[in-house]
Chain length 232, copies 4
Amino acid sequence: MAPIHRIAQISSHLRTTSTRVSTLTLTRNFTSSSSSSSYKVTNKDRAFYPYALDIQSRWADNDQYGHLNNAHYYALFDTVINTFLIQETGLNPLEQSKESAIGVVAESGCQYFSSLSFPDMIEARLAVIKLGKSSVVYQVGIFKKLAKDGSASTGRAGASPASAGVFSKAASSVATGKTFDASEFEPSQVQGDAAATGHFCHVFVNNESRRPVPVPQRIRAGLEQLQVQVQP
Amino acid sequence: MAPIHRIAQISSHLRTTSTRVSTLTLTRNFTSSSSSSSYKVTNKDRAFYPYALDIQSRWADNDQYGHLNNAHYYALFDTVINTFLIQETGLNPLEQSKESAIGVVAESGCQYFSSLSFPDMIEARLAVIKLGKSSVVYQVGIFKKLAKDGSASTGRAGASPASAGVFSKAASSVATGKTFDASEFEPSQVQGDAAATGHFCHVFVNNESRRPVPVPQRIRAGLEQLQVQVQP
Amino acid sequence: MAPIHRIAQISSHLRTTSTRVSTLTLTRNFTSSSSSSSYKVTNKDRAFYPYALDIQSRWADNDQYGHLNNAHYYALFDTVINTFLIQETGLNPLEQSKESAIGVVAESGCQYFSSLSFPDMIEARLAVIKLGKSSVVYQVGIFKKLAKDGSASTGRAGASPASAGVFSKAASSVATGKTFDASEFEPSQVQGDAAATGHFCHVFVNNESRRPVPVPQRIRAGLEQLQVQVQP
Amino acid sequence: MAPIHRIAQISSHLRTTSTRVSTLTLTRNFTSSSSSSSYKVTNKDRAFYPYALDIQSRWADNDQYGHLNNAHYYALFDTVINTFLIQETGLNPLEQSKESAIGVVAESGCQYFSSLSFPDMIEARLAVIKLGKSSVVYQVGIFKKLAKDGSASTGRAGASPASAGVFSKAASSVATGKTFDASEFEPSQVQGDAAATGHFCHVFVNNESRRPVPVPQRIRAGLEQLQVQVQP
């Protein structure tokens, strides 16, 4: 069977297992333990996403209209996802054997809400919205990094970049199923101010045969930390 | 009203006018005039798309797995779309005034079927699947350039790049509503061998207010040349 | 006179005013106030450079050999230089009029000593080695970000990115001509462990005529903060 | 010995074997067989370079000043060099063993003379100006593709891209030492209209030890085809 046929199979496989998410607003319910109040958090809020990585924008990210080029958002997706996989699940892209299970991208998509511009510090946030036998669907939120007072960081004055990727306390306490204390929320985490949201699907395949294989156990354990329950 | 609010409006506007197309296989019906036969052509066939541009892949397009990085496909989308707009509709991105109607990207998406690798010559093909009052939804097909005998071009032996963007005769004869002669098809145009297909939505806005405005007449006339009727 | 001719003039202009620096090891003499000892610091040491910006590497930076692609180093140069100009001298690339003095790149070069690899946190450091009437020659050092104990940061464990661009205390105390206390040096600043060093020349020209003009006063004042005296 | 030390060795090695070429105008003497006239051709003329590859510019190549970003020129260098190595010398970057001799970049540089802008078709031209035991120094010229009448191609009207990389007849007849007939020159080849010229140094090293090794025989044979004699 030719490689092209195999990857077409992967894609069919994915279509039956993944949800179409690019144009949806996803929500999560947060119930506070200290009060009886309940919060809806959408994929446009920072609090939706358990993991974050700060990425310095670059001069060449801007296109001739003076804003981040749309294609570069996908490079940000790639970067937060693979930083997580390498730092938190032990993935080593440089030491793949023929028997390795490698993640190939089957589908991606992005919705753009507002623009970013060099030299903004960018905050890329990550959640897992579907974890199948062989595939994973990520949700990514792209935000402008906030200053510590919650205002939009404008260059030098504010940005305080995360040290490597970090887990968001409020968000991950939900992800791990613990009772959530609404007081953990910083107001800046629920402003609905994502510049863009996107999804990204990895299918794990055998490096040689390119047929789908189960998500490796160590990677699955890592991805489960990012899993969130969503309603369309 | 803050810019971020305005662009959120655009996005809502788009959501109601565009179709969700990223995961669909789109088909067009071709009816031959010389016989009574009818053909289904999908968005994985070259014949689906009225316009094509050859793009030389670059060393830096390959990622560390040795294949074109997924994010770079969107740079190919950008390139075929803007080459068309500049060469065929007179768009001049360098001479925008405050009153200009400029196209902002509201949404994009891509499905990956097989891999490409430097130094492949890439054939990026373009169609318009929805043309609204203020917005346009493109469909893009990314193919490996074929040698003249219809076989996959492998480097030096074959690639015969198009001179700037070109209109595909067979495809455009359909696009323009003329009766279609199936004999115009080259077999290579209906192999269903797209490496990737994607969609890309432009909303035209006033350069200063960022509110949606009608697609400028000259651009609309150009886009109509690429319009195809599709069934999901 | 055609634009191409004008820029050729710029280039001649630069050749007579700049030094050829790409293949040289540059040194600065540091004399300690507390002892009589003197230190040589080269452009391969962090202490050579008064200004630093941390830049998160990206998945797509790696080429198919698994290391940062050589061309992307120049994107790092661009980024540290323009971040400095925007944040410290008030340059606003988005609000250029026809009379503005804009900086065009006349020459660049890089020497590569060791490799970097995603997801390394990168430390890009900046000095000015020549400041002419219309032109400036920067020296850039590209380093792997160190953990706080001075060891090479390996992913999650260590990197502590700078908050926006920062001035290095030890280095700038020299740049500003103050007596230098050698005890300010952290050992990590004099390990000669640059992954790459490069130079980059801006010539300031009138935005319309493209003829050389004096470096604007506010930018000159900023650049003087980064100026270091070097010996080849 | 640590990898960083080894690559520092490579760099010293190169410094003693390579010439500093970034800021020089290089010339070649062409003597016509049919007349007694002699021509000087510089590295700003197309005729200087035996090999050429057409590369479609991309939307994202332009920076916010509307011209090709300086860093992307190095991606063009990479692309013409590696296309030559893969198509003409059999290099296969995807099948490297631990014993393979691989080319690592030790130094690069570029001088910019005039600007290019998307959607220009770019003509990247290649020569070898030094071929040592373990290292090679390339000279690259970046030109705007000309229309067939020798005028600068402006988008759709003119560009006629080369089919994969091609050898220039006039130039290679000199490279191979054959007597040169000046009538072979097209006027467009000696207009001195390079938008940029650059150099690029590869050192071949053992893939595992990273120590310099001789240039592999098959690659050397290919590179000799591009070798030109230059005077500073």
